[in-house]
Symmetry: C2
DNA sequence: CACAAGAGATTGGACGTCCAACCTCCTACA
DNA sequence: TGTAGGAGGTTGGACGTCCAATCTCTTGTG
């Protein structure tokens, strides 16, 4: 068994490998909690938590009195149940992803930005404009606003994988606590239309995310626009009646 | 303590009541796991699961070595972390919700509907068209397609609270397993524009949800259009680095 | 042959215990 | 006075145990 992370993580990794190595498909049954627990040398409790966690992620289904089964192919998992970076989402959709950083600059923040980041209007923030391309076609436009609290530099924005959380976690001393996201539909503005190469007024998915530290400090505010013809958000929610 | 549901549910209900009764605000500290467990007469394990569950719902934050705190006001919780019915979402936004059922009819299903429900094109399905109003202004348009497997009638659609899951759970013998939702931006079509009373082409949030039973039978397919000026989706995700 | 009862397997729920990791704050010592 | 270190409280993680609830399949009985 893999020796990194908590035992729960190790068990989850093992199970995911088990599913892919045995080429298990939707509705294929997994071994019982007791038997896997014995095989891996962990308590049934721990194994059960791994099963529950995977069920919450929409990968398996557990059925009382019957057994545990594969739900969906892990390949079509989505961006909101986990923190899959953009590259993965696009790859999963069968496209080749690439990134392009348009600009990195220090600016005086717009109203919504300094209000959200809870800083003074005079404070300078860093704005990073990027686009994500699928097979060379721009599909996502990203504007990140970094609070002055974030000093670290990204060595190479063009290699940045799109997971702002990972960058911030490494750049800050303080722990991150949560991401609040807001999803709405918007009409493509003229400024952004040049990047997404779509007509002004085209409906796009607008996601605004704020990342907070454990001290409730907002450290990053991102506006993301999804070209809705190719990229879409998917969510799987389990229904438990018990 | 309340005597309904599992002990975990009872504990969660107790904690929610505790927060609202003591008018706890963001960052207010909750009693430690050990002390509440003792007070309620449950094991620390059970209480911990309740705390974890509430954290996943974005209601509280737990901080290793420090304590547990209130995250957001439970009032601004959203539609994707839990299954809040539309009425609640609108009420939370400070509006008065009302419902209007436009039509309930048996029809021959469109392609995407019979494909999703996995039935024959000749099978008849029930289509329910409804709108949700906030302060008399239409803000959500809903088209539900019920599989022929669902025989039960809703006694009064106008009183229906918008939770299709609850209705289906009661109407079917089989257990429900999961909801798959797909979110994208769309331009308002002419048919729907008459209900949402907005110009054709206005960007709207389009959410398509399919409800599956434990047998992987799709039993309901819904297309929901959100008027994005008033209604929006919010998601809170906790970041755990451990 | 039909159907009810029961055995066996599986997940669901809860408890009690133990130690690790983490954070805060106070105290003692240089 | 400043700082290192430790005490004490809190959450994190894992284990082992017990019984309930649910489902399937076999077996026995009318």
């Amino acid at each position: 068994m893999i020796n990194t992370g908590t035992r729960l993580q190790q068990v989850k990794t093992h199970l995911l490998n088990y599913i892919s190595q045995n080429k298990l498909k939707r509705n294929d049954q997994l071994p019982s909690e007791a038997s896997i627990a014995k095989t891996l040398g962990v308590s049934r409790n721990t194994l059960r938590e791994a099963y529950i966690s995977l069920e919450n992620e929409g990968i398996i289904m557990r059925r009382h009195g019957v057994g545990t089964f594969v739900a969906n192919s892990p390949l079509i998992r989505d961006s909101l149940n986990d923190f899959a970076p953009f590259a993965q989402i696009i790859k999963d959709g069968g496209y080749t992803p690439s990134f392009k950083t348009i600009s990195v600059e220090r600016i005086t923040p717009p109203v919504d930005v300094y209000k959200t980041l809870n800083i003074s209007p005079a404070d300078q923030v860093r704005r990073i404009k990027r686009i994500v391309l699928a097979d060379e076609k721009p599909v996502i436009y990203i504007e990140d606003y970094l609070s002055p609290l974030v000093q670290a530099e990204v060595p190479d924005w063009s290699q940045f994988n799109g997971k702002m959380v990972d960058f911030l976690a490494a750049a800050l001393n303080t722990r991150l606590q949560q991401i609040q996201s807001n999803i709405r539909a918007a009409a493509l503005s003229s400024q952004i239309s040049q990047y997404l190469e779509k007509e002004v007024g085209t409906p796009v998915l607008s996601v605004r995310s704020t990342i907070y530290t454990v001290d409730n400090q907002a450290v990053s505010y991102s506006q993301i626009y999804f070209e809705s013809d190719i990229v879409e958000l998917n969510i799987v929610r389990m229904i438990r009646t018990h």
